[in-house]
């Protein structure tokens, strides 16, 4: 019998940016989000203060969002955070995510399925703040590496960069896959960031990952890691979407003496 794995899966995500002075960012719910999904709001800005930018909030439709963690300070010159919510299926099409300061602001609305809906957050790592004055062109979590507590978790890294010129970002680390990166604009005075995931088979250290920026210079980084716990009683794996053959759709292929020919249909 094939081995059934219970890893949570990122099904879909949307993103948005606000270039300028924004203390709220509108994120759009993914098309397939439904009851039982774990919804994440991954956000970042280029605030250069020590003021915490995000805290638990209730959106306009009355749904509560819980802060997983926030990293960032006046040394890194940027902040990043993640919220979560277990979807009941009635979430509004958009959610406005409030921040404390007026900054360049980016964010993602991430839909995760196959997560533990009772206690979705398995573990949260330490904040990593890389000073904007340091000549380092990457952020890593060496020494602050996340330790998961459950098997088959989906670990995340989230980070911001002080400037839009860090985009695109390149992750390196065994098993880590970048989910997406984003910039509010290309300017070095703006903001950017990225997130990525890794399927972690057994409870323990998640493994080293480093995220390098593409700008020639160095600047502030801030980020953290966390993990999503798997559904303890996953349903049998069954395809929700099965394959449709679109190749040569609408035409008929004929093979004659080793060569393919097309016959138009209809």
């Amino acid at each position: 019998m094939p081995v059934l794995a219970a890893y949570p899966v990122v099904v879909d995500f949307t993103s948005n940016t606000s270039s300028g002075t924004a203390s709220s960012l509108t994120l759009t719910k993914t098309a397939s989000a439904g009851a039982g999904d774990v919804l994440l709001l991954i956000v970042g800005n280029d605030d250069s203060s020590n003021i915490a930018q995000w805290s638990n909030f209730t959106d306009a439709s009355g749904d509560d969002w819980t802060l997983v963690n926030e990293a960032g300070n006046s040394s890194a010159d940027c902040h990043s955070a993640t919220y979560y919510r277990v979807a009941d299926g009635g979430e509004a099409a958009t959610v406005d995510v409030p921040a404390q300061s007026l900054d360049d602001y980016w964010g993602f609305y991430v839909e995760v399925s196959g997560a533990n809906t009772s206690t979705p957050i398995d573990a949260v790592g330490s904040d990593v703040n890389v000073s904007s004055g340091t000549s380092i062109s990457f952020i890593d979590f060496l020494g602050t590496e996340l330790t998961t507590t459950a098997d088959e978790t989906l670990a995340f890294y989230v980070h911001c960069f002080d400037g839009g010129d860090g985009f695109p970002f390149n992750e390196s680390g065994e098993g880590w896959v970048e989910g997406a990166d984003i910039q509010t604009s290309t300017s070095g005075t703006q903001a950017s960031g990225s997130w990525g995931t890794k399927q972690v088979a057994s409870a323990g250290l998640v493994g080293v990952v480093a995220i390098a920026q593409s700008a020639g210079d160095s600047d502030g980084y801030s980020g953290f890691q966390f993990s999503i716990a798997p559904d303890p009683t996953p349903p049998p794996a069954e395809a929700e979407v099965t394959r449709t053959m679109h190749l040569f759709e609408g035409v008929s292929i004929k093979l004659y003496e080793g060569t393919f020919f097309i016959q138009q249909q209809g």
Partner: protein, 173 residues
């Protein structure tokens, strides 16, 4: 004097370790940057899909179409109807580490699977086999799992040699 030598030795070890660590990251970053800035050969263009981490080269005469399948799945077709060459990439979120019989039968109801071979693509384990599609007839299939997605790449069986040349340009980004 011995103490000074010991301090110098420790500094050299720490410095060397730091250099090795930074070099590894630097090399990794360079390889990733190369993947980000791929230059297609003459007569070819790059198809990139950041969401599904796909970069590949296709002939300029080929048409590329993306079909949203819902639930985070997508089908990408690369085809040149004039030359009757093409393939499709079906990508679907997948939380398992192996391709189950249920998944196989869900996507290939014919159940036909012959000459199964272990393969690889850009460092990832893959499996290939011949199958049959109701519309296309005999097919060549190339499947693999990466980053929570199952990739099913399909072409006509008779196009396998040509298709393998195209598949060799695939890079995960």
């Amino acid at each position: 004097m011995k103490k000074n030598l010991l301090v110098i030795g420790i500094c050299l070890i720490l410095g060397g370790g730091g250099y090795v660590y930074y070099s590894l990251l630097h090399e990794s970053r360079i390889s990733t940057l190369e993947a980000l800035s791929r230059t297609a050969p003459d007569g070819f263009s790059e198809y990139r899909n950041d969401r599904y981490h796909i970069s590949l080269f296709h002939a300029n005469g080929a048409a590329v179409e993306e079909h949203q399948e819902g639930y985070g799945a997508m089908t990408i077709t690369v085809e040149n109807t004039a030359k009757v060459r093409g393939y499709q990439i079906f990508v679907v979120p997948y939380g398992e580490t192996t391709i189950t019989e249920e998944r196989f039968l869900a996507d290939i109801p014919s159940g036909v699977r012959t000459d199964v071979q272990q393969e690889s693509i850009d460092g990832i384990e893959a499996v290939s086999f011949y199958s049959q599609d109701l519309e296309l007839g005999d097919t060549f299939e190339f499947w693999f799992i990466r980053g929570g997605y199952l990739y099913e790449v399909t072409t006509l069986k008779g196009l396998e040699p040509w298709f393998r040349e195209r598949l060799a340009t695939w890079k995960f980004i």
